[in-house]
Amino acid sequence: MPDVSGTKRITDVGPHDYHDFLHPVIKNNYGKWKYHEILSTAHMVHVSETGDKIYSVRVGSPRLVSGSFIKDLCDLADKYSEGYLRFTTRNNVEFLLDKEDNIEPLMNDIKKLNLPLGGIGNVVANIVHTQGWIHCHTAASDASGVTKSLMDDLYEYYIDAKLPAKVRIAFACCLNMCGAVHCSDIAVLGIHRRPPKLLSDKIINLCEIPSTIASCPTNAIRPDTYNGKPSVKLIEEACVFCGNCFTVCPGMPISDPLNDGVSIWVGGKVSNARTKPSFSKLAVSYLENDPPRWPKVVEAVKTILDAYKNGAEKGERVGEWIERIGWPKFFKITGFKFTKYHIDDFRLGEATMNYSAQVRQ
């Protein structure tokens, strides 16, 4: 327990107690909620066993925001929800109101701030993304830029519920996948495609050789010596460009503007509803970085979304839809090329082959 007497530097107080941040209606009805109703893509009501109601108004955010942005939100909260608000796990903002009458004025004020109202129900949810060139050293692409380009184009899908089910898009700027890219309906992933450089002077001085060797998923890094000191060599043909060696060893930079770019993944999900959680699967193996607006990435995502919108049945997530129509048809209608890169040859890859004569002809 931290010593808070003042004689000692205070540490380990832990997160702020959330009870201080709960709207009175929420406090009183904690654990008693009975049902909810989605009133629009921007607001819903939760009704308690006690009859109490709480309205949530949802607003989109770019996540990377200025202090002024947060203060704008605080002003609105003070005006309409007694200062109470929350963020969602996908970085939307939610105002929590007990007075139905406050909803419209709040929404009007939000519109004045040019913030998007939406994100509830069968929409393209806010994109979960990462740092990119803004802040991370291993980024193969920018995060905020791709996200912004996508959301500008998918705006109508955020504010209106036009889709068969909710579509979760995620972006990660490298294979570390700080966004939940590996289990998203649609995912955009920054990738390298050229083996790391070996800066041997750095390697021998800055890198722990055994960890560097162990960091490689394909065992492409082998022990070697350089100037009489332990170093590493690279089997280039085995490198899958993951960048993990660079994470461990600054002497192996992998960024390369000519070859970096993104790949696109589809059909993952996290929820246990109906079908089990599943990984996103490779759709487009490479698209070059074309900042500032990554038009090819936007087009590819749009292609998937359009095909999904036209083809899926109500309630079907992207992956469920593809499983129903079959992957061959998915590639056919999107026009994406199926290549040998799409065949999983890693660890459990064997488990993904078609071991059946169930084939659409």
Partner: protein, 406 residues
């Protein structure tokens, strides 16, 4: 010839309603002393709870490296009749069809020159004459050949191909499994009789997805019937079935692709989404039939567990137009198999089945080597991990620029 040994344990297995192999052995023992000794040795196995056969042993007929499985007792003094007790594998006719005259001839051979015991059939498909002494092999072989039978496979060779009853007696057959099986077996006599492979290689031909030869589980190459066009529907008969059963529960809701719909207006099938699983047709054979543009899906790689675990075959060629190829003596198929064997020969190691090899070298590389395009039909889903081995990258005029990370 009477009973040579007391076999109280085996005698227990003469009781019960199912036909008894012990009774069969005793019947065989009436014409073969060897089988009398077999009863003795097996009784001892039952007592001791372990077998009494020695490890392996190479035997064969002249010019053949396969077709005979050598077997020697480890108690030859005690049971001299089973000192040598080899198996002759005889290539069965397509579809396991016989006329009694041929069968009698085979039986005669087994009774005169062996133990009078047979397997109809071995798991791979051969007729097996059990209990043959080395000295009898050539005689048996000569006699078999004289009325048009030959040995099957064994060892590191092509194994006896087999097929389902197919078009001979099954309305579900999408291609002529018996014909291609016969043709291919004839074409590959050398590969079957003279082991030069890394290990065994099996073909099994099933006329439809029901896979009545279990090919997908136990053939290195599984050829399974399918069709390209629409399921033929007799809506009148569908209505008849609907009177007797809940079509929704037992038919449409079990369709793996959910491509069927039954309503008052009849049964509708989105054939473009049908994966030819056979279910609906199985349940309503009088109402539904596969399409008329029949052919087969070719799958590769199934096998028993050794060494890296059991395998099922995986899709390699989604649609093979068998009838078209038949016009040309199945030349495409033979060339295709040839390419696979070449690859196996070049890259496989001793005792490595084709399925294991492909997994070891990577499917992408295998496809490239045999000249097949990667297709989404080959996978149940594309890769879920990002470790992609992109094969080439762009190089700038590197002398000029800065190194990326400076």
């Amino acid at each position: 010839m009477g009973k040579k040994y007391e076999t109280p344990l085996l005698d227990e297995l003469k009781k019960g309603k199912w036909p008894s192999f012990v009774a069969e052995m005793e019947r065989a023992a009436e014409t073969s002393e060897m089988t009398g000794d077999l009863l003795g040795q097996v009784e001892q196995s039952y007592k001791e709870k372990m077998g009494h056969w020695k490890h392996g042993g190479m035997v064969g007929v002249k010019g053949y490296g396969s077709g005979i499985v050598g077997r020697f007792s480890d108690l030859p003094e005690k049971y001299p009749g089973v000192k040598e007790f080899h198996t002759v594998r005889i290539n069965q006719p397509s579809g396991f069809f016989y006329k009694s005259d041929s069968l009698r001839k085979i039986v005669d051979i087994g009774e005169k020159h062996a133990s009078s015991l047979f397997n109809f059939h071995g798991s791979t498909g051969d007729i097996q004459i059990l209990g043959v002494k080395t000295s009898e092999l050539e005689t048996i072989f000569q006699q078999l050949v004289s009325f048009g039978f030959d040995l099957g496979g064994s060892g590191s060779a092509l194994r006896t191909p087999s097929c389902c009853v197919g078009m001979a007696r099954c309305e579900f057959a999408n291609y002529d499994a018996m014909h291609i099986c016969y043709n291919i077996t004839q074409a590959f006599q050398d590969e079957m009789h003279r082991p030069i492979f890394n290990y065994k290689f099996k073909f099994k031909f099933s006329g439809c997805g029901n896979d009545c030869t279990a090919s997908i589980a136990r053939a290195d190459m599984s050829i399974i019937g399918t069709w390209k066009d629409n399921i033929r529907i007799d809506q009148g008969m569908v209505k008849e079935y609907a009177k007797k059963m809940n079509l929704h529960k037992y038919v449409t809701s079990k369709c793996p692709t959910k491509c069927m719909n039954y309503s008052d207006t009849g049964l509708e099938i989105d054939d473009s989404n049908c994966s030819k699983c056979m279910h609906c047709i199985n349940v309503m054979p009088k109402a539904l039939r596969p399409g008329i543009k029949g052919g087969a899906t070719i799958l590769l790689g199934s096998k028993a567990p050794m060494v890296s675990g059991p395998r099922l075959s995986m899709v390699l060629v989604p649609f093979y137009d068998v009838a078209e190829d038949a016009k040309n003596g199945y030349q495409w198929f033979k060339d295709f198999v040839g390419k696979i064997w070449e690859f196996w020969d070049e890259y496989g190691v001793n005792r490595e089945r084709i399925g294991e090899l492909i997994q070891r070298v990577g499917i992408g590389n295998f496809l490239e080597a045999i000249g097949l395009e990667p297709l989404p039909e080959m996978v149940s889903s594309p890769r879920g991990n990002p470790f992609v081995l992109y094969e080439d990258y762009v190089e700038a005029d590197e002398g000029q620029g800065e190194s990326p990370q400076g």
